[in-house]
């Protein structure tokens, strides 16, 4: 008998009383101003959200925030300041020197400021290896909570997707918060 068959048989044999699946109808939190809530929580995570104004140019706005960035990775057509297209990279290791990556998020969540970023690029490592990360998010796509987020999650048949909330961080040394452990040292969400 295979280990799988043995394990499943054992599990079956050991289950005594079966419990029903509950109806998941959480009376979950709603926010009068989801954008304000999203912004305020993102700030507590060490990130920042700004709204692109009608008279503002997206590329100029990003450039103004990251004046020093030289190697900029993005596969988004509207990002003209990109210097590297991660879809045209043969080896993800070559993306190590990226200063800034710009990706698209699909859902923002007001309760915890996370943004759903499905892997719509060949090398997802840009989301983590870049020194700084920018996520573009349509402000109409901010939902109240994770229940709403998962209810409308689109995986796009991708290999991977991630909710990102703020920059990478750690508190492993004496519980002192340090932003920028392995991944991005800063996160800017541009609400468009």
């Amino acid at each position: 008998m295979s280990s799988k068959a043995e394990i499943i048989a054992r599990v079956k044999q050991h289950i005594k009383e079966k419990h029903d699946m509950p109806t998941i109808e959480i009376n979950a939190i709603q926010y009068a101003d989801k954008i304000a809530q999203f912004k305020s929580i993102l700030q507590t995570t060490g990130g920042e959200a700004i709204e692109l104004q009608p008279d503002e140019n997206l590329n100029e706005l990003i450039r103004a925030h990251f004046t020093e960035a030289k190697n900029i990775a993005s596969n988004l057509p509207e990002i003209s300041l990109a210097t590297i297209n991660p879809d045209e990279t043969a080896d993800p290791h070559s993306l190590n020197q990226i200063d800034l990556a710009i990706v698209r998020g699909e859902i923002g969540v007001a309760e915890n400021a996370c943004v759903w970023v499905p892997q719509l690029m060949k090398e997802r490592v840009i989301c983590f290896i870049a020194e700084y990360l920018v996520i573009l998010l349509n402000k109409q796509d901010i939902v109240n909570n994770m229940h709403e987020a998962y209810a409308q999650l689109n995986f796009h048949n991708a290999a991977f997707g991630v909710f990102i909330s703020g920059p990478s961080k750690t508190a492993d040394i004496e519980q002192a918060l340090v932003v920028g452990a392995h991944g991005a040292k800063g996160l800017l969400v541009v609400l468009v």
Binding site: P22, E123, A159, F160, S168, D172, A176, G180, H182
Partner: protein, 465 residues
Amino acid sequence: MSTKHTKAADRFIANKAQETWHNQTLHFVRDKRDKVAMQLPEWEELRDTAHQIKMHTITHLDQYLEEFSTQAEANGVRVHWAKDAEEHNRIVYTILHSHHVKKLVKSKSMLTEECHLNPYLIERGIQVVESDLGERILQLMDQAPSHIVMPAIHLKRQEVGKLFEEKLQTEKDNSDPTYLTRAARAHLREEFLTADAAMTGANFGVAATGDIVVCTNEGNADMGTSLSPLHIVSMGMEKLVPDLKSLAVFTRLLARSATGQPVTAYTSHYRKPREGGEMHLVIVDNGRSDTLANSEHIQTLKCIRCGACMNTCPVYRRSGGYSYTYFIPGPIGINLGMLRSPEEYSDNVSACSLCYSCNNVCPVKIDLADQIYRWRQKLDSFGKADPMKKIMSVGMEFMFKRPTLFRAGLKMAPMLNYMPRPFVYNGLNDWGKGRELPRFASSSFASLWQKGKVTGAKQKHTDHE
């Protein structure tokens, strides 16, 4: 009367400054947890639902395991099954060996600690690099985690500074956490870039989609798995949830309970192998199927390893993770250790004042304290009961079963006022360590009653009649 926990706790408390820091720091995490929990009016509803989802899932685990593995295989993930730690380690090694892996980067996984995977791989010539900062610090020190979420919480920054001076050539006497973290970032970046394979644990497995969900703050799991062509996931089989709708409940509870954050920085869903790469999943039993049959302890299978029970536990906070003999400390660790081997891990059962705070913080409502109470009832049958406690319990029963003897004892007691109340009289020295003994009253309540000296305020009494 003392257990290994008692003795280790003595040593921990002897360093008062360290104990105070440890206690306060972990209580601060509990405070943060309280704050975010109180911000959600539906908090208790979430806990209750999470409990029910987990009870349902583990009592239908055969079906969900089939669904999950079928789905994962359809996604191109290669699924392996391990009955025990040995089989798990063998599977992982075989995969690594067949891919000629020299260096493996790992993100945090308590399951691989449970299986003692690292020494197994290192003995066989594979370089294993822990990538979570806390885990890496401990690996460089050759220590084990003292907390399941904050593995290096027992260390002071100066100790990390010293370690990094030696291992990572950082500046002498610089123990600034930001400086040290940056040094670790640079060091581990090199390791990520040169690793041949990446390994992660799993916070959740989603049966309906085959997703492996990993939650980190550092992004180390993602860094490793996004660079390497080979990703191995090690997952305890109780980690399943039915679907994404269920998962939503747990993603709301996990980080809030663990660290007081509304969510971890990264909630990563691994569904398929990287393009041109391979993803392997090892589903591990290692005693979990036995727990399923144990109605008194089945609820441990609901655990999502958030560590909230440690942060609130007044004993854990004041005795530290290393005072426990099982690799998982605190209330959940006491219970998991007993399920692993009651003969080997019974020393931890004393580490509980039955305050029940753990039950209340647990995001999936595990009856942690009740289970510890139940283990205590069984210690005698394992030959692990404290003989002094047994003598005292037998003595108390003898006296309390005899009301006349009890009352005679009450009468005698004041003459022996250097003794504590009857049922602790054998434990004089241990009580006396940091406390004065209570003094017996010159007349007990029973004798006052017998003498008619217990009276009401007659006048007012009459008013009421």
